[in-house]
Amino acid sequence: MTPMTRKATRHISQNEGLIFEKSSPGKAAFKLAPLDVPEVDTAKLLGSSERKDLGNMPEVSEIEIIRHFTRLSTWNYAIDLGMYPLGSCTMKYNPRVNEAVTRLPGLANGHPYQPEKISQGALRIIKTLSECLTEITGMDAITLQPAAGAHGELTGLLLVRGYLQSKGNPRKKILIPDSAHGTNPATAATVGYAVENLKSNSAGMVDIPSLAAQMNEDVAALMLTNPNTLGVFEQEIHKIAELMHAKGGLLYMDGANMNALVGKARPGDFGVDVMHLNLHKTFSTPHGGGGPGSGPVAVKKFLEPFLPKPVIVTKADGTLGFDYNRPLSVGRVRAFYGNFGMFTRALAYILANGPDGLRQTTEDAVLNANYIRKALEGVYDLPYSTPSMHEVVFSDKLQAKQGVKTGDIAKRLIDYGFHPYTVSFPLIVHGALMIEPTESESKEELDLFIEAMRSIAQEVQEEPQTVLEAPHNTRVSRLDEVAAARKPVLRWKPAAQ
């Protein structure tokens, strides 16, 4: 077997058109129960608001739907199929028990407005998860309302703003390192702050002198990812916090990379004032092709009064309930209480791990990243030699000489049976290959990955064209993204139209 065929082979795969292309009048996949109340005259009830026609909505049978989506699904790569080393995404195993508990009838069918006395189960889940997450982060209080990481950032900056406002001045700027994820500056803008970039030093960390120079009374907060997007722990975190606090600013931590820290270090212990978590990364809730996620925001005591409402409380009679009477609250960032279905999953994950499992998980994640780093160092350029935590970032510098870019290597990995790593991020590394294996990869899978990456590096030298034209083993070859954006076709239309 060659390295290329060791992990994957080609096999027959079903084609499938758009569902509209299968539609034909009179086919149906639905059947309603007979109506147990009198029929109504819709025209009379609705008048001119009555809808007559549903246009091109499909008409198909159940078997066709099963086949349609089953076939479609087989065109996807997924964690369940193999290593998915997207840096910054923490593509770890999504345990099936998480799914099972979430579908228990009382939880799946619980209405958010049902009386609290018949909602004690859901409330206990919220409470228990909140306690676990504050313990894990070393913070004092938390809100689970935000629906994703970016939404958590927004909530976090609202808290910063609310707090500073309460002190008389919301300030104007947010400092953001140049290695930060795009949501950080986008969020700052959404909350009405100006963004000021902070340069990284040669070790890939916050440049302390620059920070000292840029920090002043206009700066509301620094948004720091730690470990940062290079997978590097900000070793001078304490100084950073001190610098911020000294000038009355806050330290916000983007917790996307908590998979490097859980059970080993706590942001609350190293000076962070407010941070968000991504339950869809660190806490194993599935990505589902892009979402849903959940982005709880944990805070120090002084920010608690500003948390979005409602907050969960234990009432005098010992039962749990929501407190809406929060005069200092920054308000509400989402209807109801957040992506509850992600809470059940994340909590199931925490319970399955316990303190020892959580720690071991973190250790394995860091072990895996360093194992890859060691094996590929030299084969790929390592722009920062600073020690890596849970992910490692290479650059395509050595390959670019042959005209091969990180994106090409990524596509070639597909032929070898892997999902690509994260391409071209973080921005401070030109031609970045950002690799996060997570703890879910076995040594066997890592060795295959390393072998594939080494083999590709060799191909780049010997037959660069093969890499440039990759992937070769997929049902579609490289797609024309430029054409897609130039003349966007964003929906199907019937031929006649």
Partner: protein, 456 residues
Amino acid sequence: MRYLPKSPADREAMLKAIGARSINDLFAPIPDQYRLRHDLKVPRQMAESEIMDWFDQCSHENGDEYSIFLGAGTYYHYRPVIIDSLISRGEFLTAYTPYQPEVSQGTLQSIFEFQTMICELTGMEVANASMYDGSTASTEAVLMAVRLTGRRSVTVARSIHPEYREVLETYALNQGIPLTTVSFGENGRISLKDLEKSFTPDTGCVLVQSPNFFGTIEDVAAIADIAHKHGALLVVAISEAVSLGIVEPPRQADIIAMEAQSFGVPLGFGGPYCGLIATREQNVRQMPGRLVGQTVDRKGKRGFVLTLATREQHIRREKATSNICTNQALVALMANIFMTVYGKVGLKELAKQNLAKTAYAASKFGKHAKVLFPNAPRFNEFVVQTKEDPYVINNRLLGHKIVGGFPLKKFLPELGNAALWCCTEMTGRTAIDTAAGVLAESEATEPVREAAEVAQ
């Protein structure tokens, strides 16, 4: 730990390959004083059976045996079994955002179909791949309108979901966007007179919801005329997606912000749900959220990709149309499958059943209490005003294993003892009759009032 695919020997060998003596060497970058020396105080590692038991207990203590008459932004509809069969396939469940189209065509094509169906149902030209939920979608739609018009004031109907309003307030406050609220009239619809009065030259858009929070269908055409006359855009929120089966969509809107939860998504104590935004083609470059577009591969074969990414945070950073990154993809897939199952005929039939159940319940309840807003069409919700506090009535109903309507005084104190009731195809006639009976008892002490006392 049973999820971790490593043996002690594997770990040993790997550390050796790295050249580390122990795993703690790898954590050396964390300053010593911050390294955790003790176990986290979280519950001990549990067996799968224990986890199931724990949550099962929670499920039993979460009202798993009640008939519910609650809607108010999230609706109990039947979920065809195949939804979970299909979304549980690991290839959908455990895939990331489809940034690598050659190994993500499944997700991409399904989103493309989702976008298409949403366009068909809403009468819009483009729809995005999803937003967090209806509340944030509505807020983002308003921000989008503000960007599109360059105007910075917003008019909001008081009859939209109160929590949508709260979310909008949170965002608007920090962007310095003034909000003007317009109340509803005796028919439960936005007061057109007050709406007319609300405009200033800086009004960028009007946000209404239809069916609105009371289940009343707004006169969108009239509202659109007024908004457009003032050079403002009309944003319409839809929180009960099933209404689109029988209620004319707000085609006159410029932007539609929707909550697609009704399309096969469990109530799930409030989430995850599936927001989305749809609009006209001309507005697409100010649209937030992901979009899938059709294209071809090198051999000319049809394929799908994420497109127009220059709107998004990972390309445009602080200049992006939104900070959204992770969305609600898997929930959108649920909605997609639901729409496909019901389709052109089924969605209409389904919506009709909702209409019939609601009409029956409203007429039953109307015999004993006052049903507000009678002079405008409604979909599957209605407001009942009682003499007795609805919280008290609801407590009584719990004894009959019924969860009564949503007391409105929490958000709309001007409505006094009014409560918002909802019937869907899942509401059995027996439950309606039982609830009506309980209502009759509690209202029996005094004759039912006839006159309207709608608060303004």
